[in-house]
């Protein structure tokens, strides 16, 4: 086997990042962010609402949570769909009890498959974030620009049509993007995305078709990651989320506002035995002064002029 030509050449070895998407910056050296009413923490709860097609392709890769048994995979198709029938409503009920308005990242196909689900999300005062068309339609650089643009446009057409919301936020299935994805998002009226896991604060991205914000979304305290990739228990998830909040809260006293993001999945945290653990997390966070819970779009709007 031999190495490709130029394996010892480093064309992007220069000051800053090795691409033009965003600039490097030290999170602890930035101008402090001020949240409305002097809040220290913006609590960003993002519940994933997903459809995993029975015939989802394995190439070029499957989004996490994908069906994994031989076709036809009754097991995981229905387990994931549980989230859409029961789980999401259990989470909605808890959020309503707490009086919280949050974000739901919804696959576009849910608008036609389960319009009642979207109605319930909107009726609860929650924001709908575009989560791609379905979990089998991953974004990657093997897609032509036209094909990828068609997925973005169709997703937004469905979700905007069904909810009447502007839908300006995006979370890709599996948080996967191709080289062109940020341009296509900006072209289709997306103002912020949740795919990048490199910060605890919003930051500005560059696209050839206009500005885009990166909004933080925790990767390793995501309920699905902890349960299904790390195989850790619910009490262990609760402890890590509390510890994460405590450190961000402490830092906010010195460094300015922070975002505490809480990614949830309707088919994970919406299980009967898990939802009270979610309550424990919310009780801990909401028991602190200076916590502002808001849909991601409002947090993005508050940050936009400051970053």
């Amino acid at each position: 086997m031999s190495l490709p030509e130029g394996y010892l050449d480093y064309p992007a070895r220069r000051h800053g990042m090795d691409h033009d998407r965003y600039d490097w910056s030290d999170m602890f050296a930035r101008k402090p962010i001020a949240w409305p009413d002097g809040a220290r923490i913006a609590l960003s709860i993002v519940t994933h609402v997903q459809h995993f097609p029975l015939d989802m392709p394995a190439k070029p890769f499957k989004a996490p949570g994908a069906l994994s048994m031989p076709y036809p995979d009754f097991r995981y198709f229905t387990n994931r769909d549980y989230g859409n029938r029961i789980g999401v409503f259990r989470i909605l009920r808890l959020l309503a009890e707490k009086g919280l308005r949050t974000s739901f990242a919804v696959n576009g196909c849910i608008a036609t498959r389960y319009p009642a689900l979207l109605d319930a999300v909107a009726a609860g005062g929650h924001e709908v974030v575009a989560h791609g068309l379905d979990m089998g339609k991953v974004h990657h650089s093997g897609l032509s620009i036209d094909d990828e643009n068609a997925i973005v446009a169709e997703t937004l057409r469905l979700l905007r049509g069904a909810t009447g919301q502007p839908v300006e936020g995006w979370l890709s299935p599996g948080r996967a993007q191709g080289f062109n994805t940020p341009e296509l998002l900006a072209r289709n009226g997306i103002r912020w995305n949740l795919d990048w896991a490199n910060d605890d604060l919003p930051y500005r991205m560059r696209t050839k078709e206009g500005p885009l914000l990166a909004m933080p979304l925790a990767y390793e305290t995501d309920d699905r990651v902890v349960a299904n990739e790390y195989f850790q228990s619910e009490p262990e998830w609760v402890q890590q989320v509390k510890d994460r909040f405590d450190v961000l809260y402490r830092e906010s006293a010195e460094y300015g506002g922070r975002v505490m993001s809480l990614p949830l999945h309707s088919w994970v945290s919406g299980m009967p035995y898990r939802v009270e653990y979610l309550r424990e997390v919310l009780d801990h966070i909401l028991g602190h002064d200076g916590v502002w819970t808001a849909p991601v779009g409002q947090i993005a709007a508050a940050a936009d002029a400051q970053v």
Partner: protein
């Protein structure tokens, strides 16, 4: 190259069982040398493929994994550094040397604290698999030059990029003047490495104390990582009554520097630092003490005697 048949053994060190070894003493009468090795890394957005190992699980750009690692250079490194400052640990940085070009601000903060830099290759997305000896020598030259230019330091240590190696790697590291390698996990004490020229030692690094193994492979919780570090320390500290041992904690700021992980780590290293018999050292200092105390020569002689059947 490549036509050489596979070997059944690395052939890089002699067997020398723990009991009966020459005694190691550390400077100032300290019992246990503890060093912390933050891997300050740069993973590329669009790296070339190596036929033996693909840098990313998804096609380029693997935005999720790329950005996860970038977290270390935007946010995690500051938390990690603050925890080490508080406990009085200087880092021995396992450095992807291209980071000197990308983020000299981070390099400056480390250098200002008197941290040591050792080489972890150019990028963590460039492996030495399928390189010729001369290509690998070029990586070593680049690393020496880059670290010297940005920090004034002369490289003493080496951890191969993403732990990728060739069978000749140790020979050409020693030939270039590298004093210690971190690529082998066979001992709790520094040990001579059998190389064609020079005096290379294998410095105890650790797979199992390494946060990337703990978090990404073993899926351990942050608080249990704190417990693992304390137990590793307690055991080695007791055993070092007889002869000096080495404990290493290899870190990655994108992992240990996460907000849900930093406190458990910080408390564990505070605990270590509270013991009088701990020598808070760097890799270079341990290597120097090993030679200066005669341990290198004594271990080499002991291994030779053992090989001749004198036990």
């Amino acid at each position: 190259m490549g036509a050489e048949p596979m070997r059944s053994d690395l052939g890089l060190y002699d067997y020398l069982p723990w009991p009966g070894r020459p005694r190691i003493t550390w400077p100032g009468g300290k019992k246990l040398a503890v060093w912390i090795a933050p891997n300050i890394e740069f993973y590329e957005y669009d790296p070339p493929n190596n036929p033996t190992r693909s840098p990313w699980g998804r096609p380029n750009p693997d935005v999720l994994q790329y950005s996860h690692r970038d977290y270390g250079n935007r946010a995690g490194w500051q938390r990690m550094m603050a925890a080490m400052d508080r406990a009085g640990f200087r880092g021995s940085v396992s450095l992807n040397v291209a980071l000197c070009d990308h983020h000299p601000e981070i390099i400056r903060a480390c250098a200002d604290r008197g941290w040591e830099f050792f080489s972890h290759g150019i990028y963590n997305t460039r492996y030495v698999y399928n390189m010729t000896v001369d290509q690998e020598r070029e990586i070593i030259r680049d690393a020496f030059d880059t670290v010297r230019k940005h920090t004034g330091q002369e490289l003493a240590g080496w951890l191969s990029p993403a732990l990728s190696n060739n069978l000749w790697t140790m020979d050409i590291l020693a030939e270039a003047g590298i004093r210690y390698t971190c690529d082998m996990f066979h001992d709790d004490q520094p040990m001579p490495v059998k190389v064609r020229s020079g005096k290379l030692i294998s410095m105890p690094y650790s797979l199992e104390m390494n946060d990337v193994i703990v978090y990404n492979s073993q899926k351990v919780t942050p608080r249990h990582y704190g417990e693992i570090i304390r137990r590793q320390f307690d055991q080695l500290y007791r055993e070092s009554d007889d002869s000096g041992m080495v404990m290493c904690i290899p870190l990655h700021p994108y992992l240990v520097g996460q907000p849900h992980r930093i406190d458990a780590f910080a408390e564990a290293i505070d605990y270590i630092a509270s013991h009088d018999g701990v020598w808070q050292a760097t890799g270079r200092e341990i290597a120097e003490a090993y030679h200066a105390s005669g341990a290198y020569d004594a271990m080499t002689a002991a291994a030779a005697r053992h090989a001749q059947g004198d036990r």
